[in-house]
């Protein structure tokens, strides 16, 4: 069963706890998750870190966590600025960009 989870407009260190709790609730519900980032416009490193932590947890459980659409806009700018796109692993490339770097 796949579940589409809408990510709020802003996930920063101030709202990180709330977002992490929402994700944990989804994990408890034993769902495979597609994250809908279409509303996300304000983001910082706390969001990226939560997604790395969540990916690990979903992977260990043999379930799937992915983005509904490839990352774009502010999130890509953040990933670039923070050095997440240097030496991008195939797994990260798949997760963030669905296997294809934006041109």
């Amino acid at each position: 069963m796949r579940h589409l989870m809408a990510v709020p407009q802003s996930v920063t260190v101030r709202s990180a706890r709330q977002f992490a709790n929402s994700l944990s609730d989804q994990f408890e519900a034993e769902s495979n998750i597609d994250l809908d980032l279409s509303d996300l416009t304000e983001v910082d490193l706390a969001f990226v870190e939560i997604l790395y932590a969540a990916r690990m947890q979903w992977k260990r459980a043999g379930r799937e966590l992915r983005l509904a659409r490839p990352a774009e806009g502010a999130l890509v700018a953040l990933l670039e600025r923070a050095g997440f796109l240097t030496d991008l692993t195939p797994q990260d490339l798949e997760f963030w960009f669905h296997g294809e770097l934006p041109q």
Binding site: S10, V13, A16, E42, D44, E80, T86, Q103
Partner: protein
């Protein structure tokens, strides 16, 4: 201040930082070679820039960045610190304050002018090698080369860094500013979601930094987080930098991804708790006071005791026990509450007390600016800065003291040439001191200038009709003339002083604080002004009296003595209203008549003799009820113009007593005396 409002908290912190920067610059003005001071000022600017950006004060962050860039040259020894540079950065510091208090609108041209002055100061100090002050933040600058190829770094911030307001992206940006940079985020220590504290930062960064960059440059980036973070720095080995080239190429393939995103609206604002708001909500910092934790602990102890006593009272009210036992217990509780109320009041008063150092430190800048404007060499010394005064008092003393210090610097101190000719050291001295004497604090402003010119004061007083030509007058009274409205002996009006406004305002302000001002002066040796002010404005010891049906409080500090006024003496003195007190005639006022009580005089009326300075007046009251701890409440706006009263207080029975304004009543008594003398 709402403690939950991070922008308001930033304004308070930024105000403190600006004060530190100012003090550092003023010290630097005296010790231009002092490396520790240069570092201190730099750190202040650096922190202000970083936290300003974090809290949405973009104009502040940008302006401060330029100043920091300029000052960095001084720190790196590329340009010397000069008086001119110090003066310009002091102006820049004032501009930063304006940017913090407002939204920066309308300040652009002023900021640009200061940056132009800063550029000129740096050019003058650093010669042709000076770097442009207003270079873009991302242009990068390399310090002295100490590792020709560059450095390999790894860093990880303390876990709570982000929650505490540190933005790792800003650190990465600063590293990018130093040179070609290859940044790789390390995610291997991020725990699974179930184990993650979402506000903690577990990301590490590997960085290759290429260029002539000194180790100091790198340390500077981490200067405020260095103590708790994980940081390794090692020189790059001698292999060619192909990997950096590859990295740059790989970035090129993502041409639609911004290379850096500080200006991007979504990310750039991501760490900002809220936008910098306009002037309406600005600058509430003056309304907060920092209190040492132990004083709060003390207050908590008292409150704890009060809760226990309240519990005992509740038990008693529940009605168990014998009547006699209850009465004894009630009396004990009453005494306990009386003690606690007194202690709570004292503890609370102490919370409002701040060291007078916070007042004195403001004047260092004033004297610095005055010295520049007048071309005089002025040394400011202070003493007794730890003396504590009520916070409200500090705020209200600032303006009068500015007047007095301006007068001392502008009129009192001579030019260096005149001082040399008079056999004095070239540098004029202005000395501020504070000490507590009983319930008062004495603040002294002393200069070693030329002193007050008595002849000129007399001539001016005669010209204004304040005294008759040739009229004998004591030295003390002559000096008091300078407090008359419109009185100025300055031959030349300057933008600092000499307009005849000031000293009368100073006197009125000090008296409105229930204080007094004394002045002494010795020709050729200087002048001394002493301000005597009460420790607090909130609570006074008062003498509670009855006049007709009403009760009034006379500030106890002004009461000299109390006398009986018999009915016979009252009748005998009608039309004169003077009593003889130790061979001196003292006028008295019948408060019953002034207040138009419409009641008959009490057969045992009393005269309460009050004084300000050497002036005395007696107040006739019907009854002296006793001493009373008076919590002063302001008069309502409707009654604010009633000059005879300084405020009101609520009595134990819930009634209201008006507090008499001693200075006004003494003046009223003196006027009455003059009228009677004139009438013969």
């Amino acid at each position: 201040m709402n403690t939950q409002d991070p922008v308001a908290a930033f304004r308070v912190e930024a105000g403190d930082l600006l004060d530190q920067i100012e003090q550092g610059l003023l010290d630097l003005g005296h010790r231009l070679e002092d490396r520790a001071l240069i570092d201190e000022v730099f750190r202040g600017l650096h922190t202000l820039k970083g936290s300003g950006a974090m809290f949405g004060f973009d104009a502040l962050a940008e302006f401060t960045h330029h100043c920091e860039t300029a000052f960095d040259r001084v720190r790196k020894g590329l340009a010397p610190a000069t008086q001119e540079l110090v003066a310009v950065i002091l102006s820049a510091r004032d501009h930063m304050r304006a940017l913090i208090e407002g939204d920066g609108a309308g300040l652009e041209s002023a900021g640009a002018a200061i940056l132009a002055q800063l550029q000129a100061a740096i050019d003058a100090a650093g010669g042709a090698e000076a770097a442009p002050v207003a270079a873009p933040a991302s242009s990068g600058s390399a310090g002295p080369a100490t590792a020709a190829r560059g450095w390999r770094l790894f860093f990880r911030l303390p876990a709570e860094a982000m929650a505490n307001g540190t933005n790792p992206l800003m650190l990465l940006d600063e590293l990018r500013d130093l040179g070609a940079c290859r940044i790789t985020a390390r995610t291997d220590t991020i725990p699974a979601l179930a184990d993650l504290v979402p506000t903690e930062c577990h990301i590490g960064w590997d960085i290759e930094l290429r260029g002539d960059i000194s180790r100091d440059d790198i340390d500077d980036v981490f200067i405020f987080v260095m103590d708790d973070m994980e940081l390794t720095v090692e020189p790059l080995e001698a292999e060619p930098s192909e990997d950096v080239g590859q990295a740059l190429q790989s970035s090129d393939t993502m041409s639609d991804i911004p290379a850096t995103v500080p200006e991007g609206p979504a990310v750039a604002t991501s760490a900002k708790p809220g936008p910098a708001t306009g002037p309406a909500s600005a600058a509430k910092s003056g309304e907060s006071v920092r209190v040492p934790a132990e004083r709060l602990d003390e207050l908590m102890d008292r409150v704890g005791e009060l809760v226990i006593v309240q519990s005992r009272l509740s038990q008693l009210a529940s009605g168990h026990g014998s009547a006699v036992g209850n009465e004894l217990a009630l009396r004990s509780i009453s005494e306990e509450i009386e003690r606690l109320a007194g202690e709570l009041r004292d503890t609370m008063m102490v919370l409002r007390m701040v060291p007078v150092a916070s007042l004195f430190s403001r004047f260092r800048r004033l004297v610095h600016d005055l010295a520049r404007e007048t071309g005089k060499t002025i040394t400011l010394s202070t003493e007794g800065e730890t003396t504590e005064v009520d916070k409200t008092m500090i705020e209200r003393l600032a303006d009068p003291m500015v007047h007095l210090i301006r007068n001392a610097c502008d009129h009192g101190l001579e030019t260096p040439e005149d001082r040399r000719a008079a056999g004095k050291p070239e540098a004029g001295q202005v000395h501020l001191s504070a000490h507590q004497a009983g319930g008062e604090v004495l603040i002294t402003i002393r200069d070693d200038g030329r002193g007050i010119d008595r002849e000129r004061v007399r001539a001016k007083a005669e010209a204004q009709g304040l005294i008759q030509p040739g009229q004998p007058i004591s030295d003390h009274d002559l000096l008091q003339m300078i407090f008359h409205p419109g009185f100025s002996t300055a031959a030349q009006v300057t933008n600092l002083s000499g307009r005849g406004v000031g000293m009368d305002v100073v006197k009125r302000t000090i008296e409105s604080l229930r204080g007094a001002i004394d002045i002494t002066s010795a020709p050729g040796e200087g002048s001394t002004v002493v301000l005597r002010i009460p420790l607090t404005l909130a609570i006074i010891d008062g003498l509670l009296v009855r006049v007709g049906e009403g009760r009034y409080v006379i500030p106890l500090g002004a009461v000299e003595e109390c006398l009986e006024l018999s009915l016979e003496e009252d009748l005998r003195s009608r039309g004169r209203s003077f009593i003889t007190l130790r061979d001196r005639l003292v006028p008295f006022l019948r408060l019953r008549e002034i207040f138009e009580t419409g009641t008959r005089p009490d057969p045992h009326q009393k005269i309460v003799v009050i004084a300000t300075g050497s002036e005395r007046v007696g107040l006739v009251v019907d009854q002296i009820i006793g001493s009373h701890q008076t919590v002063i409440k302001s008069m309502s706006p409707l009654h604010r113009d009633v000059a005879t009263f300084a405020g009101a207080t609520i009595l134990g029975d819930g009634g209201v007593a008006l507090i008499l304004d001693v200075a006004q009543l003494v003046m009223l008594g003196q006027n009455q005396e003059e009228r009677l003398r004139a009438a013969g």
